[in-house]
Structure formats: structure tokens, C-alpha cells
């Protein structure tokens, strides 16, 4: 599972950690995040994330 970086604020979504504060279980792939999930740091939408090479 790949990490994804927010192009607005640089937050990195790590699927191993998930986003428990917003109800995302550890182990959730970025692709499986709900479409209305937003960056927990700055509120950017999913389409503003880029895969970390």
C-alpha cells in the first residue's frame, strides 16, 4: 500500500496508520478512503493528494 502526500500542506497519509481521529482504521489503503475524506491537517480533498514515489 502506498503513501500519499497532500499537495497543499504536505501531510502524508500512511495506510499503516490510517486516520483514526476521523474514523479511518489503520490498514486502509488510500484508494479505499471514502470520497468525502479530507486531509486531516488542512482540509484538502482526496484529489489533491499525490502518490509518494
Amino acid at each position: 500500500m502506498s503513501k500519499y502526500e497532500c499537495t497543499v500542506c504536505g501531510y502524508v497519509y500512511n495506510p499503516e496508520d490510517g486516520d483514526p481521529d476521523n474514523g479511518i482504521e489503520p490498514g486502509t489503503a488510500f484508494e479505499n478512503l471514502p470520497e468525502d475524506w479530507v486531509c486531516p491537517v488542512c482540509g484538502a480533498t482526496k484529489d489533491q493528494f499525490e502518490k509518494v514515489a
Binding site: 497543499v8 500542506c9 504536505g10 501531510y11 481521529d21 491537517v41 488542512c42
Partner: protein
């Protein structure tokens, strides 16, 4: 005003904006300052600039210390235009080839503000830069309060240039916390409530991070207002306290009114809560500025919103306030709604829905009174107030 030497060879070269009263919608009753700093070392270094219209004043201040052309390095801690607006004019005087050190996001964001192709030199989080006798460490503080925000720390002097964090919109000739007779904290609190509240979780993490780094700053120098040299713990602890958002036995009653009926309800609720030992603030939305209301909301346990129904909807100022409050994400608050109406009475439900959306603990369906509250209506308001008071923490 002349530059102020804040430590050996380190100067405040900011400007005072005595007359600003509206800072992008935030009421600045006492003006503000745009702080920038100059470090005289083997590499002469400028930290931040000022709002563009103050650039002449700013360059004059620098010139009282050194010819701007001799500046070697520029550091941009924050892209927002009250700190970067003067950059193009300043770079013309300094030399457009000189490096502008900024965070990676700063590079990206500055490039979207200015057409000039400056020599942006992104620095890493915890990266360092030697100026000769002194060295700087950069700390990225993303989303405190923009993606580009960073701190610059002078290791040898223990000076933390904290960008907008710990700032206050307060214009004064005095430049330090210990010089001000008036307590600066209410202004720091207002700044926190209106600019940083939504980033409370990040602030708590940042404070932990600073502690883990074992920095022992002797001075905190924000980009607005006074610098802290006497009581650094006070402002840092206040930031922790505000970030924790511990609800107090305090209620803010935010309302508007058309024919004083919703206002009568507001005052009745306020008095009843006051009698129940609650610190209560009724705030009329056309008499109080939204940024002053939010400052009161910061440590309140309850936010009680009163809106008349106008044309089947919310009163416009109430919508304005709800939008503003939603963005600032206050946590752990009790919410309640009330209002007078003529014939349809949608406003109370609309307020409740908005408060639920903000994850407020909404206690009741809300209190609606048709037209003018009568004796029974007033009694209902008292009961409503007492029920909310019972749910508030006992601690003031």
C-alpha cells in the same frame, strides 16, 4: 520609529500599523504591527518583510542599521502578504539574486504570490544555516497557520522567531511584554481564537515537539505585536490551555433581533444563567464583532444562539456567525438555539442543525416563541437557561 536592538546585533525592523481596524474581517481595535527582524552577522540576514504599503518605512529602518544591498540572506517564515507583501520591493534593494530561504511549501506558495523569480532556497525541517558567529535552525510548522509556516531559531541567542504563532494585533511603541502596562494576554487570546483555534491539535503537538528538542528560548518574537522576553512560560502555557479547550462554566449568548423579542429571550436566558453562577455574555451580532464573539466562545462551555426567523430562514448575521464559527472548529461545547418568529419559525431548527454539524452537544430541540414572549414564554426561557446551566461544568 527607530529599529530596536533586541539582542546583541539583532534588531526589530518591523512597522506599526496604528490605523488598521479590519484585518481580513478580524476587528483590530488597537491596530497591529508587522514585525521583521535583522541579524547582523558575517551573513547579514533579514527575517520576513512587511505589508507592501509599509515597505518604504521598513527599508528606511533597515537602512538606519545597514545598507539593504549588503543583506546576504532573506528568510520567509510565512507567505501571507502582511509578511511577504514587501518582498518584491525589498529584493530590488537587496539584490534579486540573494537567496530567499523558506520551507518547501513556502517556495511553492511564494511563487504563486509574486511574479518575480527570486532565488528561493527551500530548507528542510530541522535544517540549519550558519551565519558566521550564529547559526539558525528552521522548524516547519505546517498549518500554523498556513502550509508554508515555519519558525526560525537562533541557537546562540535562544531567540525563536515564531511567525504568526504567539502574535497579537496590538500597535504600541513598547516592543516587549514587560513594557506594557495593559495586559497583552487578551489580545493574544483573541489572535489564538480567530486564527489558530482550528489547529489546536497541531499546537499541542508542536509544544511537545519544542519540549522534546530541549530548546530553551530566551525570547519569543512573533510577527505581530510585542515580543516575549520576561514571561515566555505564560504565553506558551496559555497556548496549551486554549488548545485544550477545557469548557468553563461560561455561556456566550449570540443573537440578533428584529423587534426585541429574541433579545428579550436572550436577556432572560442570560439573567437566569447568571443567577445559576454561570459567567454569561449576551452578544448582539450587530453590536459585537464576530471576532470578539469568538474570543469569548474560546473558553465557554455553552454557545447559545438566538435567531429570529426572517423570510423562512435564519437572520443573515446569524448565518454569518455560524459560518465563521464552523471554520474555527471549537470543540466540546454545549449548543442550544432559541428565537422568536412570526408565522413559520424555521430559524431555531436551522441553528440546531448547524450546531450538530459542528459536533456541538445540542441539548434540546430549541426554544421557539411566536411573536412576543409573554409571562409564560419568559418562564420557559428561564427553565431553558437553568437546564443548560445544570449541564455546564461547575468550575468557572
Amino acid at each position: 520609529m527607530k529599529p530596536v536592538e533586541i539582542a546583541d546585533g539583532i534588531y526589530w525592523v518591523g512597522v506599526i500599523d496604528w490605523n488598521i481596524r479590519d484585518f481580513h474581517g478580524y476587528s483590530t481595535h488597537l491596530g497591529s504591527t508587522y514585525n521583521a527582524y535583522l541579524i547582523m552577522d558575517e551573513k547579514i540576514t533579514l527575517i520576513d518583510t512587511v505589508k507592501s504599503e509599509f515597505t518604504d518605512d521598513f527599508l528606511e529602518k533597515i537602512s538606519a542599521i545597514v545598507d539593504p544591498a549588503k543583506i546576504d540572506y532573506v528568510i520567509s517564515n510565512h507567505t501571507e502578504m502582511d509578511h511577504s507583501g514587501g518582498l518584491p520591493q525589498t529584493m530590488k534593494r537587496i539584490g534579486e539574486d540573494k537567496p530567499v530561504f523558506c520551507s518547501r511549501m513556502g517556495h511553492k506558495n511564494l511563487s504563486m504570490h509574486f511574479t518575480g523569480k527570486f532565488n528561493y532556497t527551500p530548507v528542510e525541517d530541522r535544517g540549519s544555516l550558519s551565519l558566521g558567529k550564529r547559526s539558525l535552525t528552521f522548524l516547519e510548522t505546517r498549518m500554523l497557520h498556513w502550509p508554508d509556516s515555519m519558525f526560525t531559531y537562533v541557537n546562540e541567542n535562544g531567540i525563536l522567531f515564531s511567525s504568526d504563532a504567539f502574535g497579537q494585533h496590538y500597535a504600541s511603541v513598547e516592543r516587549f511584554d514587560d513594557q506594557l502596562k495593559e495586559d497583552i494576554m487578551p489580545h493574544a487570546k483573541k489572535y489564538f481564537a480567530n486564527i489558530l483555534l482550528l489547529y489546536s491539535p497541531l499546537i499541542l503537538k508542536l509544544v511537545d515537539r519544542l519540549k522534546a528538542m530541549n530548546l530553551s528560548p530566551a525570547m519569543i518574537c512573533p510577527d505581530h505585536g510585542v515580543m516575549f522576553r520576561e514571561n515566555l512560560g505564560k504565553i506558551v502555557n496559555a497556548y496549551v490551555e486554549w488548545s485544550l479547550q477545557r469548557p468553563k462554566r461560561k455561556a456566550v449568548i449570540v443573537y440578533d433581533t428584529m423587534w426585541h423579542s429574541t433579545e428579550r429571550m436572550a436577556f432572560t436566558i442570560a439573567e437566569a444563567m447568571g443567577h445559576a453562577g454561570v459567567d454569561v455574555r449576551p452578544m448582539h451580532l450587530r453590536k459585537c464583532d464576530r471576532s470578539d464573539i469568538i474570543t469569548e466562545v474560546l473558553d465557554a462551555g455553552a454557545v447559545i444562539i438566538g435567531s429570529p426567523t426572517l423570510n423562512n430562514g435564519l437572520f443573515p448575521t446569524v448565518s454569518d456567525f455560524l459560518t465563521y464559527m464552523k471554520g474555527l472548529k471549537p470543540r466540546d461545547k454545549i449548543g442550544a438555539a432559541f428565537g422568536s418568529y412570526g408565522w413559520s419559525g424555521e430559524s431555531v431548527d436551522l441553528v440546531n442543525r448547524a450546531l450538530e454539524d459542528m459536533k456541538f452537544n445540542v441539548l434540546f430541540p430549541g426554544l421557539k416563541i411566536q411573536y412576543v414572549p409573554d409571562y409564560e414564554g419568559i418562564a420557559t426561557c428561564k427553565d431553558f437557561a437553568e437546564k443548560i446551566a445544570q449541564k455546564l461544568p461547575l468550575e468557572a
